[in-house]
């Protein structure tokens, strides 16, 4: 029987809610890239969790290169995520480009192969033991939330999520790149017909998605442990976020991430080991009632 007395403590509830929000920000970063890539390239990228993992390890290592200076974390975050974007560019042009015209199953197999390859490369480069990054001095402390401690760093993550969402929204709505991205999601052949090099556009979109994943990993480095299984852990939940929110919908991805974050945070009070059950149930319900997701639209892909 779960300990329901916890629900009477407002501080505990608030912190639990904030924990859920923090997790939601990570899910949003990964899932938005996943959803963007699917919406434009039509490829379900299993390896997106691997890019997240790579972001965490790269940031961790870059931070360890220069011990001391206060800017370490920030430099590592920026360089690490850009590194992941570059890796993404290589992945897209070498492995995905040849399979766009193939069956979806074949594309899935390619991205799954990438999961295995990256996982092994990470084990080769960093070994199998857990690591953990350190928080920037500025954000090392904690704040008091109704009598309970909440890490300042997590508050920072809570701010980054909405900022990235806003920046993405502006990018998609207000720039030529964004218009091209949305146009390509409608009809990629016509984007070529109006004079746009679709290959380059696809590489750009994949790099952007990879960068988001890498950024998520870099931000996660100082919080959770960095370990070789973190890719699979996050990709499963990110898929669920995208399915619940609606493939290709940025707002849906955000909503999905918020819901899953809270379900996890509070579900854990009922079934400490099996909180994920709530998430699976939610996904099943959404799939039955609105198979295209909460904010998605029914699509017929041509």
């Amino acid at each position: 029987m779960p300990d329901l007395s916890a629900f009477a403590d407002p501080g505990f509830l608030a912190v639990q809610c904030l924990n859920g929000l923090t997790q939601a920000m990570f899910l949003f970063l990964i899932a938005s890239g996943l959803s963007l890539i699917f919406g434009v390239l039509g490829v379900l990228n299993f390896a997106h969790g691997s890019l997240y993992m790579l972001g965490a390890y790269l940031s961790y290592t870059i931070a360890s290169w220069f011990v001391g200076p206060p800017a370490t974390f920030w430099v590592a975050l920026v360089l690490g995520s850009i590194g992941v974007a570059l890796v993404g560019g290589i992945i897209e042009s070498v492995f995905l480009r040849p399979v766009y015209r193939r069956e979806e199953l074949e594309q899935l197999l390619v991205t799954y192969a990438l999961v295995l390859i990256i996982s092994d490369l990470v084990k080769l480069a960093w070994g199998a033991e857990n690591r953990s990054g350190s928080r920037p001095a500025l954000l090392a402390g904690s704040v008091d939330i109704a009598g309970r401690d909440f890490p300042t760093y997590n508050l920072f993550v809570l701010a980054v999520g909405p900022l990235v969402a806003l920046a993405l929204w502006l990018l998609l709505r207000r720039t030529q790149f964004g218009r091209l991205v949305r146009a390509a999601a409608n009809d990629r052949e016509m984007v070529g017909v109006v004079g746009v090099n679709v290959k380059g556009l696809f590489t750009g979109v994949f790099m952007l998605g990879a960068w988001l994943g890498g950024l998520g990993g870099g931000l996660a480095a100082p919080i959770g442990a960095i370990f070789p299984g973190m890719d699979v852990e996050i990709i499963v939940e990110s898929f669920i976020v995208v399915v619940v929110g609606g493939m290709g919908s940025l707002g849906g991805t955000l909503l999905g991430a918020l819901i899953i974050g809270q379900l996890n945070a509070f579900g854990i009070l009922f079934f400490p080991r099996f909180a994920i059950v709530f998430v699976y149930v939610l996904m099943a319900v959404v799939l039955v009632i609105r198979p295209w997701g909460l904010l998605g639209r029914p699509v017929t892909r041509g």
Partner: protein
């Protein structure tokens, strides 16, 4: 001669559709491909712009051999294409559909959103509307406007009148005539004979992937058997 295509053989997988099609267009002319459903009009146009590269044959545009070029390079070379189904970007607004096709050349004579709106005033009123919600006629105007945004030297229209009400077809005809008067070179496929003959200098008749007739409008009108044999339904 701005466009010269010779001996085009094009297939979809195993099914051969074009058997040695040849088409030429002179600067400032309007040329029309005629023929019943399924004879290969669209396939010919798609072969020219690289959407369905021909297995054999040559496409020369303004002295440059563009055979097999990717569509985006063909577009940058100066050929714009308005597909039969219009294929607007349905989630983008009218203005965004134009902006997304904006390309290169600036200057007084270059096409921009404002000039497209002057040419098709109805589009200006629909500025923020999603292209997916436009009527057939509005869609066609926007599709042509989008094509013009690339400042093409050759405008290719695939059955522009298809599915439009007679009054809308008349308006469309006037728009195309105005573009032509402005110096645009036009190649189109059409099944509306009245529209085709009103606008074109020369016509081609396609049948089962072969060119059965090529000549001026006067020559076509002189030979009445052509209509019965290749165009009548």
């Amino acid at each position: 001669m701005i466009l010269e295509a010779r001996d085009l053989y094009t297939a979809y997988g195993l099914s051969q559709v074009l058997f040695g099609v040849a088409v030429t267009v002179d600067v400032g002319q309007a040329v029309c491909l005629l023929g019943r459903n399924g004879v290969g009009k669209t396939t010919t146009l798609r072969s020219l712009i690289g959407l369905t590269p021909p297995r054999a044959g040559h496409v020369v545009f303004d002295g440059m051999d563009i055979t097999g070029w990717a569509p985006y390079r063909v577009a940058r070379q100066g050929i714009a294409f308005v597909p039969q189904e219009r294929r607007l970007f349905g989630d983008l607004s009218v203005r965004e559909n134009l902006e997304v096709a904006r390309r290169g050349t600036r200057g007084a004579s270059a096409w921009g959103v404002e000039r497209v709106y002057e040419t098709f005033p109805i589009l200006e009123q629909l500025d923020a509307r999603r292209a997916g919600y436009l009527s057939g006629g509005e869609q066609q105007m926007l599709a042509i406007g989008r094509a013009l945004m690339g400042n093409p030297r050759l405008l290719i229209l695939d059955e522009p009148s298809e599915g439009l009400a007679p009054l809308v077809v008349d308006a469309l005809c006037e728009h195309i005539r105005a573009l032509k008067a402005d110096g645009m070179t036009i190649l189109m496929a059409e099944q509306n004979l009245t529209l085709a003959l009103a606008l074109s200098e020369r016509v081609y008749i396609l049948d089962k992937g072969h060119v059965r007739f090529a000549g001026t409008v006067a020559e076509f009108e002189a030979d009445t058997t052509l209509r019965d044999e290749y165009l009548a339904v």
